[in-house]
């Protein structure tokens, strides 16, 4: 901001900055849609956007869940592997449990998330390592449980509702994903959780010395992340009519990209699940939009890499992060 501004103007300037950076993910999203439309005018149709939103749903969930962990200052690399494992469980359990399988899978995923959180907190191992290890372990379990093959869901009536369209336009999966994001955001906002989570992410030791239940908050964050991965798995199964041990594995890096593109600081504290929602849409547009408008696959990857970096450069609020590693 301008240095010549009188002291009286200072508070105004201070207020202005976060507001603009808060809109950055949305701006990036709109700019991207505009660019894709310019590249291919057919892209901007209601059907096409509906398809994008349906596609984005599992990624939104994965990113939203992991965002909580990132806000606490950690990272969860196991989300994708956990989602894959969950698809296998769901596909295996649906024949016996029917509709309850969905709940059971989300429950198990929550537990696994909490377990990783507990290992992180009790053993004092960096979350990067715990979840990196978790990723390998969960993948191995998924391979063994599924016999390294796809498990088909013959009767998908119990998960089919996720693949419907509300009013014919809005995919149910997208509705659910947005609802979950809203729910998480609301839960954080109206309870002390928001201040606990941010305090843990910004300054863990200060939070602890203020009596914040840092350990519980972190375990909770991993549990939410796990639950979201479980729900994302349900969506994938409803879309694919099957579960597979590597089905969601490729969503890990896009999910992390979505979080960072949304402007959540990877160092913790600053950010929100709404930002990750916007980030997930940006990433999805990049993943499916570029090839659809006719970018050849080689250039697609180059563009993807470049745009992600630029998007992060735009959305990250540097005033909130001191040293960037």
């Amino acid at each position: 901001m301008s240095t010549s501004a009188a002291t009286a103007a200072a508070p105004v300037a201070v207020k202005e900055r976060p507001r603009l950076s808060g809109f950055m993910p949305i701006i990036a999203l709109v700019a991207l849609i505009a660019a894709l439309t310019v590249a291919d005018p057919d892209f901007l149709t209601q059907r096409s956007l509906t398809a994008v939103s349906r596609t984005a749903a599992p990624l939104i969930l994965l990113a939203a869940g992991a965002t909580i962990v990132v806000l606490c200052g950690g990272i969860d690399l196991s989300i994708a592997a956990l989602a894959s494992l969950s698809t296998v469980f769901l596909a295996l359990w649906i024949p016996n449990l029917g509709g309850l399988a969905t709940l059971a899978v989300i429950g198990v995923a929550t537990l696994i998330g909490a377990l990783q959180g507990t290992a992180h907190v009790l053993l004092r191992i960096p979350s990067f390592i715990v979840t990196l290890g978790g990723m390998s372990i969960l993948s191995a379990v998924a391979l063994v449980v599924s016999g390294a093959g796809t498990v088909r869901v013959v009767d998908d009536s119990t998960v089919k509702w996720l693949d419907l369209y509300v009013a014919g336009y809005v995919p149910m999966s997208f509705m659910v994903a947005v609802l979950v994001v809203a729910l998480i955001a609301l839960l954080l906002k109206v309870t002390p959780l928001q201040s606990w989570v941010s305090a843990t992410g910004y300054a863990e030791s200060a939070a602890r010395l203020a009596g914040t239940p840092v350990d519980l908050v972190k375990i909770g964050a991993f549990a939410v992340s796990g639950a979201c991965a479980g729900l994302a798995a349900v969506m994938l199964v409803s879309r694919q009519f099957s579960g597979g041990p590597t089905m969601a594995d490729n969503l890990l890096l896009p999910a992390v990209a979505a979080i960072v593109v949304g402007g959540t600081a990877i160092t913790g504290g600053h950010g929100s699940v709404w930002r990750s929602l916007a980030g997930a849409l940006v990433v999805t547009l990049l993943r499916v939009g570029l090839p659809i408008v006719g970018v050849p696959s080689a250039y697609e990857q180059i563009l993807y890499g470049a745009i992600i970096v630029v998007a992060v450069a735009l959305t990250l609020d540097k005033s909130k992060v001191s040293i960037i590693k």
């Binding site: 990209a257 890499g305 470049a306 970096v309 590693k325």
Partner: protein, 333 residues
């Protein structure tokens, strides 16, 4: 932190320069794990298998060497896969091959390494100029690298016919392939850089206390870029080595090396927060991971479980390293 009487400084002196106790963990673990597998499986302890382990560790060792410098700074680098792919294609198109008439030999290899270096530069510049966290910057660069590789691939696999480059994987010296010796040379070079160059020492210092460097008037940004460039050069060489092994330039040459290298470095005792560890630590880490992978196959563990067992051991290795130093109110990210 502080000492209350004058007797205390004496014992401190003794541990001053030598390897500290906590550095001893990974080598001990390596010996123990090796011993266990050797006891379980006679094939494992055969010389041929040891040769195989060391030879197959070569590429990972070179890549890990590079990533170690980045980790020492407290940054992270996920660009290995893309950079290796691009360099693999570059080298396979520049040395004698079946796609074009090029036969630049050594200069082709050099070009591939320099390309890796350039990609590293790109990551570093994105970090210091655009202020993009290295996690994302390198992820982006990895995608760019894969794209560039796919462009060069253009539908026809380039097979190399350059005898010298092919010989790297085939020829042997003292029982080990040339690739292994190249890896050894890289580790040595890495160690020298880490110990004797400003670049290496500053990388280490940036991980220790970046703000102090700034306060002392050191411009850290060029060094950060240089460290990423150095790491990129190592990945570039890694890509060349994979090409020599496969006899062809593959876009997927670097698949999985990013996380494997981080795993190896961490298992070897390099901290993700920076400021601790080093090339020698990483070399031990690489051997640990390779011994583990190989040993599991040799004792007949189902391939499905192998990844899981590795995961458990990584977590266990780090847990064993941090538990003795646990404090209440310790910040663990």
């Amino acid at each position: 932190m502080t000492v209350t009487t004058e007797v205390a400084p004496a014992p401190r002196r003794s541990s001053r320069r030598g390897a500290s106790f906590r550095d001893a963990g990974p080598p001990v673990a390596l010996i123990v794990i090796f011993g266990v597998f050797a006891a379980l499986s006679p094939q494992f302890r055969s010389f041929g298998n040891v040769q195989n382990i060391v030879d197959s560790a070569a590429v990972l060792a070179v890549v890990t060497c590079g990533i170690t410098f980045v980790l020492m700074m407290g940054s992270i680098d996920l660009s290995a896969a893309g950079v290796m792919g691009a360099s693999a294609l570059t080298v396979s198109l520049l040395v004698a091959n079946n796609r074009n008439g090029n036969d630049f030999g050594f200069f082709g290899i050099l070009a591939a390494v320099l390309l890796g270096c350039a990609f590293g530069c790109l990551s570093g510049l994105a970090l210091v100029l655009l202020k993009v966290p290295s996690f994302m910057a390198t992820l982006g660069v990895s995608a760019v690298g894969l794209g560039v590789a796919t462009l060069m691939f253009a539908g026809v696999q380039p097979n190399i016919s350059d005898a010298a480059l092919k010989g790297w994987a085939v020829e042997r010296f003292l029982g080990f392939s040339y690739l292994t010796w190249i890896a050894v040379a890289c580790i040595l070079l890495g160690w020298l850089i880490q110990r004797y160059t400003r670049l290496g020492r500053y990388a280490y210092a940036i991980g220790g206390a970046e703000e102090v460097l700034t306060l002392s008037g050191v411009q850290v940004r060029p060094y950060k870029v240089a460290v990423f460039a150095l790491a990129g050069a190592f990945y570039g060489l890694g890509g060349v080595m994979v090409t020599s092994q496969l006899g062809a330039g593959l876009v997927q040459a670097g698949n999985g090396y990013d996380f494997s290298a981080i795993t190896a470095a961490v298992v070897g005792g390099t901290l993700l927060t920076g400021g601790r560890g080093g090339v020698l630590h990483s070399a031990v880490g690489v051997l640990l991971v390779m011994v583990l992978t190989n040993g599991l196959v040799q004792v007949g563990v189902s391939p499905y479980w192998q990844g899981g067992v590795e995961g458990v051991i990584v977590v266990a290795a780090v847990a064993a390293a941090v538990i003795p130093q646990r404090r209440r109110n310790q910040v663990v990210k």
